[in-house]
């Protein structure tokens, strides 16, 4: 084996990180998807800037919410962290190791540390596999359970933890309801004892009464297994309920990042304010009195984002400078970051 190949075989060495310390750092993350033209001689005519310079930290044991409208890059950010997309630029540093520098084989152990729960419980489970095999497969792949019976025992345990009885192991996904399937998705994510779980719209597809059950389950698991969540969602009331800190994204950039109480009680960025104002409260006496600040226009194309602050075409407070200069994400009070020059 040559020297370089040997270097590449080295397993990444992860630092120990205590609760409350930084577990994951995302630094200036960019993900630009090329847009091509032509059939035989494809040439790149533009880039979709899905994520364009995003930085944040996640502490061990916390739940960081990532909110924004469709196309703001929240899911792509999650996929970059999971190493399902190779980032165009930037670093993702997990327990001292920069994941963007690792190659596929070195990423294998990383996958046991960072897991994912997807949005759609219908398409994220293989319809031809039994639930027991779906949950057991990651353990076989990573050789965590040596034999079938140990694996089976662990599957039963995981099903119970997620509120399903052991008999579900022999069922197929189509025999289950949406809420039950999402519990299977959660059990599969837990199978490898991960540190971080990326929840990509994990409760969005569920009915109201089932959604509350799954939210409570996610909370219980977080406390029991000291999990860290990156909770990607568009439903602000769910994010408010579940997250310690929240980052608001718009067109590939973070607009505001603050603690949950601070962000929802004292929003500073005009976009955050508009977003919060658009969420209706389930109480007619409050709701029919409340002034809604309706945001005009629509989200521009991420292929040709506006100059300066990307939000300026829809912003009621925009001044000349907003069209020209990109406002940096700066700390206005402790732990409250805003990317707006007028705040």
């Amino acid at each position: 084996m040559s020297a370089t190949a040997e270097v590449l075989q080295v397993e990444p060495q992860f630092k120990e990180v205590a609760v409350g310390e930084t577990l994951l750092q995302v630094r200036n993350l960019k993900m630009h998807f090329p847009v091509t033209e032509g059939i035989m001689f494809q040439r790149t005519i533009a880039h979709v800037k899905a994520v364009d310079g995003v930085s944040f930290d996640i502490q061990r044991g916390e739940t960081l919410g990532l909110v924004g409208e469709s196309g703001c890059g929240k899911t792509t950010t999650g996929r970059c962290i999971l190493q399902l997309e190779k980032a165009t630029a930037g670093n993702i540093i997990y327990r001292g190791v920069d994941l963007t520098t690792l190659h596929d084989k070195q990423l294998m152990p990383v996958r046991t540390h960072i897991q994912v729960i997807f949005q759609d419980p219908y398409s994220s489970l293989n319809p031809r596999m039994k639930v027991g095999d779906i949950i057991g497969e990651p353990m076989m792949v990573h050789r965590i359970q040596s034999d079938r019976s140990a694996c089976h025992k662990r599957v039963t345990e995981l099903l119970n933890v997620c509120g399903l009885s052991a008999k579900f192991a022999d069922r197929y996904p189509h025999e289950m309801s949406g809420g039950q399937r999402q519990r299977v998705g959660i059990a599969r994510a837990l199978a490898l004892n991960p540190d971080i779980i990326v929840c990509d719209e994990a409760v969005s597809a569920l009915d109201v009464s089932i959604q509350a059950q799954v939210i409570n389950l996610l909370e219980d698991l977080r406390d029991e297994f000291h999990l860290t969540y990156l909770f990607i969602a568009h439903d602000l009331s769910v994010v408010r309920h579940l997250c310690n800190r929240v980052a608001v994204m718009y067109l590939g950039k973070i607009m505001e990042l603050a603690g949950g109480d601070e962000l929802f009680d004292n929003p500073q960025h005009p976009y955050t304010k508009a977003l919060l104002s658009a969420v209706p409260v389930p109480d007619p006496s409050i709701e029919q009195q409340r002034q809604h600040q309706v945001l005009h226009g629509e989200v521009p194309s991420p292929m040709y984002p506006p100059s300066g602050c990307v939000f300026h075409p829809r912003c009621t407070y925009a001044v000349d400078g907003c069209r020209r200069d990109i406002p940096p994400l700066r700390e206005i009070v402790k732990d409250h970051h805003v990317a707006c020059s007028e705040v």
């Binding site: 409208e69 469709s70 309801s177 949406g178 809420g179 039950q180 009915d207 109201v208 009464s209 089932i210 959604q211 509350a212 059950q213 939210i215 409570n216 909370e219 568009h234 602000l236 009331s237 769910v238 408010r240 309920h241 579940l242 949950g260 109480d261 929802f264 508009a274 977003l275 919060l276 104002s277 658009a278 969420v279 209706p280 409260v281 389930p282 109480d283 007619p284 006496s285 409050i286 709701e287 029919q288 809604h292 309706v294 945001l295 005009h296 629509e298 989200v299």
Partner: protein
């Protein structure tokens, strides 16, 4: 205000391999002129099937309306033949569907789809229809209407398409618009725009609306009256204030408790409704909510409770409707 629509004892069933599914099982409600009625419920509660039955859009087979009357402006829609219902549908009753992506024809221009309805229902000339189409797009807040009329649906964003759907629904000056989850597929800021638009049209043109949704916040803001559906039946009916402040059915109580709310302190634990909605092909004679109900009594298993007045014209289908205030306090 007169009654515009009366639905009486409507039953719609579907024949499936697993038996007969009672999707809508005897619902009765009214819509007054200019009123906004919300129908709230979870997937499979029969809220969409109930609305599609009004419009005669239930595919037969497997679906069939087996009983009931739907009286709209004095005539029973269920007694009309195909040609008769076509005159009403898209004419006096407009509709807006959930998926603005799939409910417009992708190979026809916006202009063609908008004017087609008017040519059929209002016997306008093409020129008149074109003019009205421009007016309509302006009304629903679409800029450069002349250019938009020549475009195809894929040129427009989701919010724009939903505006086109609303323009379509309005094109023949309807008395009633049925909107089936009109904003579910849209982002929250676009949802606010669309709902404000619908509210505005309701005010200025006095169009009655039936909004079908699962979002309790949307209902609170826009509805005058609310029908809560569960397993094919209306379980509670009242004005919006009553339903939210003094719910008289355990399902409504549970639903309101299970949503995280922006106006309440953070970190409170949600109280979910345990269990799952029932299989609609295997319902018995008792109350279909009782397996999930914390206040179940013996009577619930033997007879389905009638939808009756529990005071102040608020109807509830629960045997313990009169005790529910105390039960709720105690829990």
């Amino acid at each position: 205000m007169g009654k515009l629509l009366e639905v009486r004892g409507l039953k719609t069933e579907f024949e499936t391999g697993e038996g007969t599914v009672k999707a809508v099982d005897g619902i009765t409600y009214d819509v007054d002129e200019g009123e906004t009625v919300a129908i709230v419920g979870e997937s499979g509660s029969g809220k969409s099937v109930g609305a599609l039955s009004i419009l005669g859009l239930i595919p037969n087979p497997p679906g069939k309306i087996i009983a009931g009357e739907i009286i709209f402006a004095g005539q029973d829609l269920l007694k009309l033949d195909d040609a008769g219902i076509r005159r009403v549908r898209g004419g006096e009753i407009g509709m807006v569907f959930q998926e603005p992506m799939t409910s417009l024809n992708p190979v026809l221009t916006i202009g063609l789809q908008l004017t087609e309805t008017m040519l059929v229902h209002l016997s306008m000339s093409q020129h008149e229809a074109d003019q009205r189409a421009v007016e309509l797009l302006g009304l629903v807040g679409i800029g450069e209407p002349e250019r938009r009329l020549r475009q195809f649906p894929h040129h427009l964003s989701g919010g724009m398409r939903q505006r086109v759907m609303i323009a379509l629904a309005l094109s023949c000056k309807p008395k009633l618009i049925i909107a089936d989850e009109p904003t579910t597929a849209l982002d929250v800021t676009i949802q606010a725009q669309i709902l404000e638009l619908m509210k505005e049209l309701n005010r200025t043109m006095n169009v009655a609306q039936i909004i079908i949704t699962h979002n309790l916040g949307v209902v609170a803001r826009y509805a005058d009256r609310v029908n809560v559906m569960y397993a094919g039946k209306i379980v509670e009916m009242g004005n919006a204030g009553q339903i939210y402040h003094r719910p008289r059915h355990p399902y409504t109580v549970g639903l309101l408790k299970s949503v995280p709310r922006m106006d309440q302190p953070r970190g409170q634990r949600l109280i979910p409704i345990e269990g799952q909605p029932p299989d609609l092909s295997r319902l018995d004679q008792g109350c279909s909510y009782r397996p999930r109900c914390q206040w179940m009594i013996d009577e619930c298993a033997s007879h389905y409770p009638p939808l009756e007045d529990s005071g102040d014209a608020q109807l509830s289908a629960c045997w313990r409707r009169s005790e529910l205030d105390e039960l709720r306090e105690a829990s």
